[in-house]
Structure formats: structure tokens, C-alpha cells
């Protein structure tokens, strides 16, 4: 019934997928954005230092008497300007037409004409540099370009540090979000699991409605639909019960009348030939009665299974005692020694159905045991679980037919008498209702038959047990 779990992804998987993937994308985009926005101001600040340097140097460019320009900056000041723990700082002062005035010869200038000071990147002495060029007019000397540049170590280091910090933070965030989502989804789906548990724990034939209190809104309609279905089946079971009650009454009353009248006629009839005929009809009426009884029992045990009524504490020893006492006359009639070894075995069961089942087993045993043989009913507890056995010294059931005889209307090839083939089917029905296992074996020394009904240890919920027992029986 259940689809293989790998074909349709579970709701939890879907939810996790749908939540975690977008969360991952958002977090990654956030990381990138954070990185970009935090790098720009840093670059800006470093550039500003270069601008400040360039402005400061420009402030010290003077016109020289030759009409050119010269840098009047003491060496100490230059050292301060060049001081940097990570990068090499360069500067260069030149006239606009490219005449070298001061600083590091050959340092490129930023050619960006759009702004002043203009910024740019270049390469100097084999290393990439960032540079700022400030163009200004020196009174008496004409325009000059002051370029301040530095290598990129500090900037690269800052980038790496920023990136690492961002990634670390985001990784922690991602983990946190993942864990929260995982637990959240799990918790959110808990009620689903509870409903599933409830359904799984029920017997396949249980019909009572599922409780709605703890069912989440989203699947309430499903559970309600299930409950409506249960109710319908239950109603039809109840209707069936009513029908069977009435059928039982309608069938048994005339049968009782016919049978009793025939018995009386047979007793009163002086004519031997006529009496024989009456007895034949009586035998037919009895068979009809028996079959009717068997069919009604089967139908009613079906419906007892559906409705689970009639369960009460029973003692198999007492049930067996009643059955043995009831069948003594029948056993005496065919010369079979019917006896018992009864030990108390209490559990929750439906007494009249157990009586019917055991009655059928004893009837079968008596019918298939030749005169002088014995039939013994045994009850007791084995390892805490009640059991019932009917042991006979009769013809036995062929090994290959032992499974089949439990089916409706099957009669063993060596069956005797006028059986309906329903007796053992009733035993099976009753066994299933009680979660019992029925086994058929040869008796001691391979003689006769022993049929055993092994019940479950009391205390377990019958629903779970019933499911186990319904297994692969037919």
C-alpha cells in the first residue's frame, strides 16, 4: 500500500530543500555585498592618505629662480611621508610637460583627466601600485603634477582579512540557520508523525475514529475523511450485525421447529419404514442446522472483529470444561474416550466464539477418531501465553493438507462424516480475532492430530497482536 519512500520526496525533505537553498543563496549574496561595501571605504581611506600626501608635497613646491619648480622639503619630512609598515611609498613631482622635479624618477602618473586629484593603478619597479596625481599651478613656475603612490600589500592584507571575517561570520550564520530550520521543520512536522504513529499502531480492522485534537489543520480534512470512512464501514458493520441477528432468528426458529417435530415423529412412528424415512429427514435437518450455525458463527466473528465487542476475561480451562461436558454424550456414542488436562489460562477474549472454536475442534477430533481412541483437550500457559490444544488418536491430517484445511469449505482428502468444511475456518477466524496462531501437527509418536491455538501473552494491546496474526495466513 505504501509507496516506496524514495519515489515521492517527503514533506520534510521538500521543506528543508525549499528553505535551506534560498537561505544559502541569500547568505552568499549577503557575504558578497558585505565584502564589497566594506572594501570600498577602506580603499577610499588609503587613497585619501595618498591624496593628503600629494597635497602636502604640492604645498612645498616652489618656483625657482630659473623659472622652473623645485621641491623644498627637508629629508626628514620626506621620510615621514614615506613611512609605512607594509608598503613602499613613492612620490614624484614633475612639470606638466614631463620634466622631472623631485622624488622617484620614472613613477607613472595617473592620466585620468576627469578629476583632480586623479586616481589610478599602475606598475612600478615590478610591483603593482596605487597612485594619486595632483595637478596644480605653482605661481611663477607653471603647472606641476605631484604623484603619490604606494604598493598594494596593505590593501591586499585588508581585503583578505575582511573576506575571512565575513566568510567566518556567514558560515556561522549559515550553520545556525541550517540547524534552526532543521529543528524547526522537525518540530513543525511532529503532529504529522503522531498521526502516522496512531494509524500504524491500529489493527488493520480497527474502526474507531482517530482522535482529532492533536491533528494539525492542514491534514485535519484527511483524518476527517478517514474517520468518515471508518464510520461508514462501522455503520455497515452494525447494520450487518442487525441483519445477522435477524437472519439467525429467522433461520433457527423454523429449523428448531422442524427438528423437534421430526424427533417427536420418529419417536412416535410405529411403522419401521416410515420411521427410517423420518430419521433420514431429521439427519438432513440437523446437517442444515449445523451448516447454518457454522455460517452464522463465521459471519458474526467477522463482524466481532470489525466492532471488537464482547471481549471480557475468560479462563480457557472453564471454556474447555464446558465444551468437554457438552460433547461427552457424542463421544460416548462413538466409543471415543473424551478427556481433558486443564490448567487455568486467563486472558481477554470472546467467550462464546472460543467455545464455538473449541467445539469445532473437539467435534472434528471425535469424528476422525475410531472407537477406542482418545480425544484430549489441553489448556494452560506456555511461557506466559495461554494455549489450547485438542489431541486425538485419529486418522490424522496429511502433512501437505494441513495449511489448506484451515480454509473455508476445504475438506481433507481423508475427512470423514458429513462436515461442512467450515469448522476449521471458524477456528481460524476466532484465532485471528484473538491474535492466536493455529498449528496442526501429528500427535505423539506420529499418531493422530494435535491442533494448537497459541494465544499471545496477555497485557499486549490486542490491536497490535491482531495485525501480527492476520499476516500471511491464507
Amino acid at each position: 500500500m505504501r509507496p516506496p519512500p524514495d519515489q515521492v520526496p517527503g514533506i520534510r525533505k521538500r521543506l528543508l530543500g525549499l528553505l535551506i537553498l534560498p537561505a544559502l543563496v541569500i547568505l552568499i549574496a549577503g557575504t558578497v555585498l558585505d565584502y564589497v561595501t566594506s572594501i570600498n571605504p577602506v580603499d577610499e581611506a588609503y587613497d585619501q592618505q595618498l591624496v593628503d600626501g600629494a597635497l602636502a608635497i604640492a604645498g612645498h613646491v616652489r618656483a625657482d629662480p630659473a623659472g622652473g619648480a623645485t621641491l623644498e622639503l627637508p629629508n626628514d619630512a620626506v621620510s615621514i611621508l614615506r613611512a609605512d609598515s607594509y608598503d613602499t611609498v613613492y612620490f614624484h613631482v614633475a612639470s606638466l610637460d614631463g620634466r622631472f622635479i623631485a622624488g622617484d624618477a620614472g613613477l607613472p602618473e595617473s592620466r585620468d583627466a576627469g578629476s583632480n586629484p586623479s586616481r589610478g593603478t599602475g606598475e612600478y619597479r615590478g610591483a603593482p601600485i596605487r597612485m594619486v596625481t595632483y595637478r596644480t599651478n605653482i605661481a611663477g613656475a607653471g603647472p606641476v603634477a605631484v604623484t603619490m603612490a604606494e604598493t598594494l600589500h596593505k590593501r591586499a592584507l585588508t581585503r583578505t582579512r575582511t573576506l575571512t571575517r565575513e566568510l567566518a561570520t556567514d558560515l556561522v550564520q549559515l550553520l545556525a540557520v541550517g540547524v534552526i530550520l532543521w529543528f524547526g521543520v522537525r518540530l513543525a512536522l511532529e503532529p504529522l508523525g503522531q498521526v502516522r504513529e496512531q494509524i500504524a499502531r491500529r489493527s488493520a480492522r480497527a474502526l474507531e475514529p482517530l482522535p482529532l485534537e492533536s491533528v494539525p489543520v492542514e491534514i485535519r480534512s484527511i483524518v476527517e475523511a478517514l474517520n468518515r470512512l471508518f464510520a461508514t464501514v462501522r455503520e455497515s458493520s452494525v447494520a450487518q450485525r442487525g441483519f445477522l441477528e435477524s437472519a439467525a432468528h429467522q433461520l433457527r426458529t423454523p429449523l428448531a421447529g422442524i427438528q423437534a417435530q421430526l424427533e417427536l415423529m420418529a419417536a412416535d412412528e410405529p411403522d419401521v419404514v416410515r420411521r427410517e424415512r423420518v430419521l433420514l429427514i431429521l439427519e438432513g435437518a440437523r446437517r442444515l442446522t449445523h451448516t447454518t450455525q457454522q455460517l452464522l458463527t463465521l459471519a458474526r466473528s467477522d463482524e466481532a472483529t470489525n466492532l471488537r465487542w464482547g471481549f471480557a476475561e475468560v479462563d480457557l480451562a472453564q471454556t474447555a470444561e464446558g465444551v468437554v461436558a457438552d460433547r461427552l454424550a457424542a463421544a460416548d456414542l462413538v466409543g471415543v474416550d473424551l478427556g481433558a488436562q486443564l490448567k487455568s489460562a486467563r486472558f481477554s477474549g470472546v467467550e462464546w466464539l472460543l467455545t464455538e472454536a473449541l467445539g469445532n475442534l473437539v467435534n472434528n477430533a471425535i469424528a476422525h477418531t475410531p472407537a477406542g481412541g482418545t480425544v484430549t483437550v489441553i489448556s494452560g500457559m506456555a511461557g506466559g501465553a495461554p494455549y489450547l490444544e485438542v489431541l486425538d488418536t485419529g486418522v490424522g491430517i496429511p502433512v501437505e493438507e494441513r495449511e489448506q484445511v484451515l480454509e473455508r469449505f476445504y475438506r481433507a482428502s481423508n475427512a470423514r462424516g458429513m462436515g461442512t468444511g467450515l469448522g476449521l475456518a471458524i477456528v481460524m477466524e476466532v484465532a485471528q480475532l484473538h491474535g492466536a496462531k493455529v498449528t496442526i501437527d501429528a500427535g505423539p509418536e506420529s499418531l493422530g492430530t494435535v491442533v494448537r491455538m497459541q494465544f499471545k501473552a496477555p497485557g499486549r494491546p490486542p490491536a497490535a497482536v491482531a495485525e501480527l496474526a492476520t499476516g500471511e495466513m491464507s
Binding site: 432468528h249 423437534a260 417427536l264 458474526r300 468437554v324 461427552l328 478427556g339 486443564l342
Partner: protein, 222 residues
């Protein structure tokens, strides 16, 4: 012995009436609860056989009504339904026994006899099993005119069996009925006393051993 039958099905009612008459009872047949009540209050009956499924007022209601009004006549209920509910309901309401249709005529008659005997035994201390008569007050068993010579233990076992007529009495129970006479009894003491009893009873009644369960006293089969 007069029996009132309340049964609406003519086939069954007629059969029960004939069966009772052929077993030398006097039998009256009514087909509904009203007629049954009228009959019970007009005449005295030793036993009533009541079908649960009477029309209008059910057999259960009829019996409850009679018990409420103080009628203690023994009642045997007949029903076409199986299941425990009806049986429990019937016995709770004051019925004395219960039979499921279809029944065997011989068993019906046996149950009727047992019910009447039980009702009488409550009143007196004497009752009978076939030809065997027991006087519990005098601890005396007679067959015909002959008083059986029984020892105390034999009497105790016979009494115990007779009190549970038609039911199997376990060996343990029989043991405890004679335990007060001797301190140490072996389990086969019961067997010894039962076999002596059988010899003394002769054909008057049958003590049947049921393997693994105990003993049961029955009337000798006709």
C-alpha cells in the same frame, strides 16, 4: 407437573408441547406475553418455558415483570440468538436456565426436569436422580424402597455429586468433601470410594469418570 409454554412460533410451540406431554408433563401453550401473564396469575405452574423473541412484549420483559410481581416459578428461556449478551441478560433478569434454538428434544426435557427438581429441592431437603432418592437432612439414599448402606465418606461423595447434577465435579472438590474425616488421603482414595459407590448404586444412577476432569452423576439412560 404443569408447564406453561410461551412461544409465538407455531411449529416450535407445538413441538415443545408434544415433547412435554410425551414426557408425562401437563403443558399449556400461549403465543404472547399478555396471555402468559394471565395464565400464570390464574393457575399454578411448576415451570415456564419462555421464548425471548415474543411479539410486542419480549420474553425478557415478561420474566422481569413476573419476578417484580413476586412470581418465583422457574423459567427456562429459549432464544434463536447466540452470544453471551442474551444469556447474561436472561439470567440477570431472573431466568433459571437458557437454551439456544435449535435444541434436542431430549435435552429440553432433561433441563425441564432438572429445573423443577432444583426448585423443589430448595423447598425440601429431598431430591431424586432417576430411581435414586436422596434425603439430605437424614443423609439417606434410597433406591425404590431400599435404603442404601453408605459410609460417611461415600455419602459425602454422593451428596457432592448429586448437588452438582449434570456437572463434572473435580477430584479435588470430592477430596475436600471427605477431607474432614481423615488427615491423610491419597488421591486415589476418591477412586476407591467412587467404585464402592458405583457398586452400591447398581443401575439406579451412573457415576461417569471424565478423564482429567472428575466425575459426573447422571440418570441411567432409558
Amino acid at each position: 407437573m404443569r408447564v406453561l409454554i410461551a412461544e409465538d412460533d407455531p411449529l416450535v410451540g407445538d413441538a415443545v408441547k408434544r415433547a412435554l406431554i410425551s414426557a408425562s408433563f401437563a403443558a399449556d401453550l400461549v403465543t404472547n406475553a399478555e396471555a402468559a401473564k394471565a395464565a400464570v396469575f390464574a393457575d399454578s405452574f411448576d415451570l415456564m418455558i419462555v421464548d425471548i423473541g415474543l411479539p410486542r412484549e419480549s420474553g425478557l420483559e415478561l420474566v422481569r415483570g413476573l419476578r417484580v410481581r413476586g412470581k418465583l416459578v422457574p423459567v427456562l428461556m429459549l432464544t434463536a440468538r447466540d452470544g453471551l449478551e442474551d444469556r447474561v441478560a436472561a439470567l440477570d433478569l431472573g431466568a433459571d436456565d437458557y437454551m439456544t434454538k435449535p435444541f434436542q428434544v431430549a435435552e429440553l426435557i432433561a433441563r425441564c426436569r432438572a429445573l423443577i427438581r432444583r426448585a423443589n429441592a430448595v423447598a425440601s431437603t429431598q431430591f431424586s436422580i432417576g430411581q435414586l432418592k436422596l434425603d439430605v437432612a437424614r443423609k439417606e439414599a434410597t433406591v425404590g424402597e431400599t435404603v442404601l448402606e453408605l459410609t460417611n465418606r461415600e455419602w459425602s461423595i454422593l451428596e457432592c455429586l448429586a448437588m452438582n447434577l449434570g456437572h463434572i465435579v473435580s477430584k479435588d472438590k470430592l477430596m475436600s468433601s471427605i477431607a474432614s474425616f481423615t488427615e491423610d488421603l491419597t488421591p486415589n482414595a476418591v477412586e476407591v470410594y467412587v467404585s464402592r459407590l458405583r457398586a452400591k448404586l447398581g443401575d439406579a444412577a451412573v457415576i461417569r469418570a471424565v478423564r482429567g476432569m472428575g466425575y459426573r452423576i447422571d440418570e441411567t439412560a432409558a
